[in-house]
């Protein structure tokens, strides 16, 4: 047995090298000693006797230390001195313990390694916590938008020339990609360019912000990154992680005020939003810096406050003012049990007390139960006096729209902004307007500076950043993928995100008061059920007298049905439990519309047959109307052989009234779903399935969609060679372009292709080049290659 123990000890020792043999670690071993004994007088803002340890350079002045020679290092001499006259730290202060002196000697003898850039000097800038509404400068040149008033003043002060405004084409492409993540379609572009009204840009912004589904499905990626939510990833395998997708989707769809949004994430009212604070649990033991409690501390600090709590989760941070205790204070709010503070994975013999970062706004009651503590934290986070909360998001939104934050990096909100007034104005305006995210986006996009030309700069600007105008941004992985699908019509039909693509509130369903009635042709005399295979046609005329905002149909048949609206097949169902749901906003017209349904019974013996259809129309004036199957429909037992229903001569067919059919399984299984489904259908805008709704695939990952194991707040700005290889030879992409090529035909094929991708017409020079390369009328291969060439060009790849 003794033999056995010796080996364990041996292994243990090797895995955790003891100080004796190992080299001294500056950050983890030396810094704490200097901090404890020396910094009070010789660091940060103090330099008693003219000696500061803030940087290695300062430390070396006056031979206070000689790297590689502890015997020639004055400060060590003073530390070991016993004469009260000379000793350091001075009399009445605690002496440096012997083993720490040895450590310092070893450090000096090893060459006094110092982490590059490390300084004890305090960051001179300390960001304000409270919100502030700066006074707006005078309006110049009629530029009224508050953002412009602030920027114009900034430009004047820094003697910077205003960038030129962009053309309508550039504006349209930019604002569309920024707000809904999609390219404008050729028809939309032509209409916009032809529109002479001066407020057309403002109206376009409103239109895009009002496009709830597309807006949501674009911003979903931003929030998934920031809240590290995904549809697959580490942790799910052992059920150590849950999604917040459905909650997030609905929150974006209804533009949930951000204070409520954050509260529901921090103190989840239901399971739907709890995945965020519950983090990612891996099987087995994890380091003290990555427990679920600590993950909570890190996540809420980063997402909502732009604070990097990762350093402070292990030891007092060297890069900002946050301490180990702060990280553990937050962790203790979340933790079910008392947690012991660990410094670099070793317990320090202290239990964490629930606390939050800005006690000046209020405290957490550590004695309260967890649920209560989380609510308190949510309250403090969204406290009206917490300007850090609003500034952090305002800054993120600005960076999304303009290419760089007012504070940079985005997750170092302790950094001085390049324009405090601008940040404070955006943040306070955000708050004053009910934490309405769309309002911030509206304010920014309607400014002249947003609508200005992007900058041409060589590389990263150095030390002091000056804002000169918006920066071009690379398309995100999702924007690029969506654009391919959009232009080639090859978006997948199915998606992975467990979301309803359309928001449905319970009260809306209640208001609907839908009582589904199933109908079929009356039974022939003596029959107790409809014949197997019986095929009938239903019809219903719907008169539309008002302008429609949105409309949708739900339909199903036992056993199958196909529904036509104004001659167009729109819904099909071959299993009665499969409720077909379709938006028909664009298919209805003012006047008479006709629904035709071909329905067929199944089985090989007589059995119940039925059809259920409901159409909901929401009018521009806010009123609505529901038309659903009932005795006022018509049914014909003879079905014309011609499948082109618009060619049918309805007058020659024999029509009768259908009868209601009651079969309990239909109602039991469908009635509860119908209302929700119908409302969803009549809101849902036939929007293309988006990349944001899919699990990451090879190409998306290659284009920079992150594995969402960590919070991510910005995407790559460049294209790498490996990505370029993938783009150059991806079979899927080639197939998409091949498909896309067929969509551009006829005389204006090239013009349409340019409009659909670059939101502009080709120049003479480009047309000539294309003619030379591909001939007068390019074949599909040529057009596919042209599409590829455009997609790979810088003009396409950047939101410029």
């Amino acid at each position: 047995m003794k033999f056995f123990q010796r080996y364990i000890l041996l292994v243990f020792c090797v895995l955790r090298p003891m100080l004796a043999g190992a080299e001294v670690d500056f950050v983890h071993q030396v810094v704490p000693v200097l901090r404890e004994h020396c910094l009070e007088c010789h660091g940060e803002d103090e330099a008693k006797g003219g000696f500061s340890m803030n940087t290695r350079e300062l430390f070396l002045e006056d031979e206070m230390a000689t790297p590689g020679n502890s015997a020639k290092s004055e400060f060590l001499f003073l530390v070991e001195e016993t004469d009260p006259e000379y000793q350091m730290p001075p009399e009445k202060k605690k002496r440096v313990p012997k083993e720490q002196v040895e450590l310092l000697k070893k450090w000096i003898d090893e060459g006094m390694p110092w982490t590059a850039g490390f300084t004890f000097a305090k960051d001179k800038y300390e960001p304000p916590l409270k919100p502030r509404r700066p006074e707006l400068p005078e309006i110049t040149d009629g530029r009224e938008n508050p953002v412009d008033r602030l920027i114009d003043a900034y430009f004047a002060e820094n003697k910077i020339e205003r960038p030129l405004s962009v053309s309508d084409e550039v504006f349209l492409r930019r604002v569309s990609l920024d707000l809904i993540g999609l390219l404008p379609a050729p028809d939309e572009i032509r209409a916009f360019l032809a529109d002479p009204s001066p407020d057309k840009r403002t109206r376009k912004i409103e239109e895009l912000l009002g496009d709830e589904v597309r807006y949501t499905e674009h911003w979903l990626s931003f929030w998934n990154d920031l809240l590290r939510n995904d549809y697959a990833g580490t942790g799910f395998i052992t059920k150590g992680r849950t999604q917040i997708s459905a909650w997030l989707y609905e929150a974006l769809l209804e533009n949930k005020p951000f204070n409520e949004f954050a509260s529901e994430l921090i103190a989840p009212p239901s399971l739907a939003s709890s995945g965020y604070i519950n983090g990612i649990k891996w099987r087995g033991e994890v380091s003290a810096g990555q427990t679920l409690d600590i993950q909570f501390a890190q996540s809420i600090s980063q997402s909502f406050l732009g604070i990097n709590m990762k350093c402070a989760s292990c030891h007092d941070s060297f890069i900002d003012r946050w301490k180990l205790k702060d990280a553990y204070g937050l962790a203790a709010i979340y933790s079910e049990t008392a947690i012991e503070i660990h410094r670099c994975d070793k317990p320090v013999g202290e239990t964490a007390k629930a606390a939050w970062l800005f006690p000046e706004l209020g405290e957490i009651n550590g004695a309260a139960p967890k649920e209560e503590r989380l609510k308190q934290l949510a309250g403090l986070m969204t406290h009206p006096e917490n300007g850090r909360f609003t500034r952090t998001l305002a800054n993120r939104l600005w960076a999304q729209m303009m290419g760089r934050g007012i504070v940079h990096p985005l997750d170092a909100m302790q950094t001085e902004p390049w324009n405090e007034d601008l940040l404070d104005f955006l943040a306070s305006d955000f708050q004053v307007n009910g934490y309405d995210i769309k309002n911030v986006l509206r304010l920014i996009t309607s400014s002249e500076i947003y609508q200005a030309k992007t900058l041409s700069v060589e590389g990263e600007p150095d030390s002091k950043y000056t804002f000169k105008g918006p920066a071009a941004r690379r398309l995100t992985s999702e924007q690029f993928t969506d654009a391919v699908w959009q232009v080639s019509g090859s978006a997948p039909a199915a998606f992975d995100a467990p979301v309803s693509r359309g928001i449905v509130e319970p009260k809306e369903i209640e208001k609907l008061k839908l009582d589904p009635v199933w109908v079929w042709a009356a039974l022939a005399e003596g029959n107790t059920a409809s014949p197997a295979g019986e095929k009938v046609v239903f019809r219903r005329e719907v008169s539309v007298k008002k302008k429609i905002r949105s409309a949708g149909i739900v339909a199903t048949g036992d056993n199958q049905m196909e529904l036509y609206l104004n001659g167009k097949s729109l819904a099909k169902s071959s299993v009665w439990t499969d409720l077909s749901e379709v938006s028909v906003t664009k298919n209805l017209r003012e006047g008479v519309n006709r629904i035709i349904v071909i329905a067929q019974n199944g089985g090989d013996a007589p059995n119940a047959a039925g059809l259920f259809v409901a159409l909901r129309m929401v009018f521009e004036d806010g009123t609505e109307e529901v038309v659903s199957t009932g005795p006022d429909w018509k049914v014909s037992r003879k079905v014309p052989g011609n499948t082109n229903v618009s060619k049918w001569d309805l007058k020659k067919m024999e029509w009768e009234s259908p009868v209601p059919v009651y079969v309990s399984p239909w109602g039991d299984s469908l009635n509860s779903k119908v209302g929700r489904s119908l409302i969803r259908a009549s809101k849902y805008t036939n929007a293309m399935v988006r990349a944001s709704l899919l699990k990451s695939d090879f190409l998306m990952r290659s284009l920079g969609r992150p594995n969402r194991d960590q919070i991510v707040s910005s995407r790559p700005s460049e294209l790498t060679t490996l990505e370029a290889v993938d783009l150059s030879n991806s079979q899927a992409l080639a197939d998409n372009f091949k498909k896309g090529a067929t969509l551009f035909d006829g005389e204006s094929a090239i013009e349409n292709l340019y409009l659909a991708t670059l939101t502009r017409k080709p120049t003479e020079r480009e047309q000539k080049l294309i003619r030379e390369a591909l001939g007068e009328s390019p074949d599909p291969e040529g057009k596919a290659d042209l599409l590829w060439s455009i997609f790979m060009s810088p003009e396409f790849f950047f939101v410029r």
């Binding site: 110092w114 942790g235 087995g284 170092a412 992007t454 060679t721 810088p794």
Partner: protein, 482 residues
């Protein structure tokens, strides 16, 4: 309000010849963007002993007592006691006196005079064995989860050393699917350049025989059309009327990447990806399965200047080396799969004069044992599928538990000693490392040192230093180098 009029740019701006600038594409082409190297005081890189690294990854937990560290052999007898089994293969001598391998690995044994075996690699006990977690640790040097996305060993080399050949992707990962297999998300979590960004990430080639496809134009596109498409692309870029918008820096980086891609897809080097270009006998020698073919591909890639190549016996939970039951039979087959290709790879590199400057590492995330899960004192759950104190059928015969107390790593070439042993495991259970244990951190330090990268190399990530070996504390095992 000033609007820009539809801009036909002045000739001078339009005609700037970007492509010409691009021909100077160099190392920087693969390199772009954030984390900055910390030019730490006193950081000196050791002199490189190798220019390329091939890791042959026996994923799933290769049992050292069944392979490179034979212990007392207990032939199968119905009803034999589990605790009596240390190894299910007889021990056979190798070409080097004092080094024995298990029966079935004689070919690798015959080249041991070109390499060193470390028999004392140890892993931490993580409380519960999850292969992908240990694999993450081995490949990044850090135990997950981590607050930042950690880069793979290959990404570190790519980041610090860059490519050997501008045209070749520096980091190529052969044999592991990342979709359609268990623990795929966990595998993806470390098969990445992490915070370095995808420029330093792996080119993944799950099927060696299909590798050629990944550097060919898409199917149905002739070489001629591919060249014409590139010409059209360049023509349109040169004649684009809006060159002034995005920064030159951004545009150039994009165009450079496109140019590199075209160069690879139309270069001679792309032939390196096609193993059918090898003589038939050579293909046959290597063709013991996907792993064998992967070894051949790895050799071709390194010959053409790849920096880091990994070949794996694919990790699929409960398959291959992950023997939760039927261990003996499975490992017997795996011997056949790895023996010839590994030996042949060493010989081929030697023949081509590349072995001295190529470090070949054969490793796995941990070892296995018939009785012990984890290591002495571990709380890890027993995950063996064959329970009971005795082995009643052949299926129960094997090493079915995960063991983290000591395992073997082989190294060839790249400045390591020839015909040498480092470290030792006990001869009786527990078979833990009893001499010179080597942690994952020190293993990284050893590999990095061979490649000429200091174990203290650090990059600033989110304002804090992040080291190539955990906290910069890795120490190379100098004794393995000649």
């Amino acid at each position: 309000m000033k609007y820009e009029i539809d801009p036909e740019m002045p000739e001078s701006l339009v005609r700037r010849d970007f492509i010409k600038k691009l021909s100077a594409a160099s190392t920087a082409a693969w390199m772009a963007g954030a984390p900055q190297l910390v030019a730490g005081k006193g950081l000196e890189h050791p002199e490189a002993k190798a220019d390329a690294c091939i890791v042959l990854w026996l994923a799933g937990g290769m049992a050292a007592p069944e392979t490179f560290d034979p212990k007392r052999y207990a032939p199968f007898k119905k009803g034999m006691e589990v605790k009596s089994v240390l190894s299910t293969f007889p021990s056979k001598p190798t070409v080097v006196d004092g080094i024995n391998f298990c029966e079935g690995l004689q070919k690798i044994g015959s080249v041991m005079d070109r390499g060193t075996i470390i028999r004392s690699a140890v892993q931490p006990d993580l409380g519960s064995i999850l292969h992908s977690r240990h694999q993450y640790h081995w490949h990044t040097g850090y135990v997950p989860p981590q607050t930042v996305a950690c880069p793979h060993l290959g990404s570190w080399m790519t980041r610090v050393l860059g490519p050997q050949n501008d045209v070749m992707p520096p980091f190529i990962n052969i044999g592991q699917r990342l979709e359609g297999v268990g623990e795929k998300e966990e595998l993806k979590a470390f098969t990445t350049a992490g915070f370095f960004g995808s420029a330093y990430g792996p080119m993944n080639l799950p099927f060696p025989e299909e590798a050629a496809k990944s550097v060919r134009p898409p199917e149905g596109m002739t070489a001629n059309r591919f060249a014409n498409r590139d010409k059209l692309f360049r023509g349109l870029v040169e004649n684009n009327p809006h060159r002034e918008y995005a920064s030159d820096h951004q545009q150039e980086s994009l165009l450079r990447s496109m140019d590199n891609a075209y160069r690879l897809l139309s270069s001679e080097e792309r032939e390196a990806f096609d193993i059918t270009k090898e003589p038939e006998e050579v293909q046959k020698t290597y063709d013991t399965g996907r792993f064998g073919r992967g070894c051949l591909l790895a050799r071709r890639l390194v010959e053409n200047g790849a920096r880091y190549v990994e070949v794996t016996t694919e990790y699929v939970p409960f398959f291959q080396w992950d023997t939760h039951n039927d261990g003996h039979t499975t490992v017997d087959r795996l011997h056949d799969e790895i023996d010839t290709p590994i030996a042949q790879l060493v010989l081929d590199l030697e023949e081509r004069g590349l072995l001295d400057r190529t470090l070949v590492v054969v490793a796995s995330e941990f070892s296995r044992d018939a009785l012990m899960e984890g290591k002495p004192g571990s709380n890890a759950n027993d995950q063996s599928r064959t329970r009971g104190d005795t082995m009643e059928e052949l299926k129960a015969y094997g090493l079915h538990r995960h063991f983290t107390g000591g395992t073997s790593v082989l190294m060839f070439g790249g400045g390591v000693k020839k015909g040498s042993v480092y470290g030792k495991t006990a001869d009786e259970r527990p078979l833990i490392a009893v001499e010179n244990p080597v942690s994952v951190t020190d293993m990284h330090a050893t590999i990095m040192t061979a490649m000429g990268v200091s174990p203290k190399t650090e990059y600033l990530v989110e304002g804090r230093p992040f080291y190539v070996t955990e906290d910069g504390k890795g120490k190379a095992v100098e004794e393995v180098f000649s």
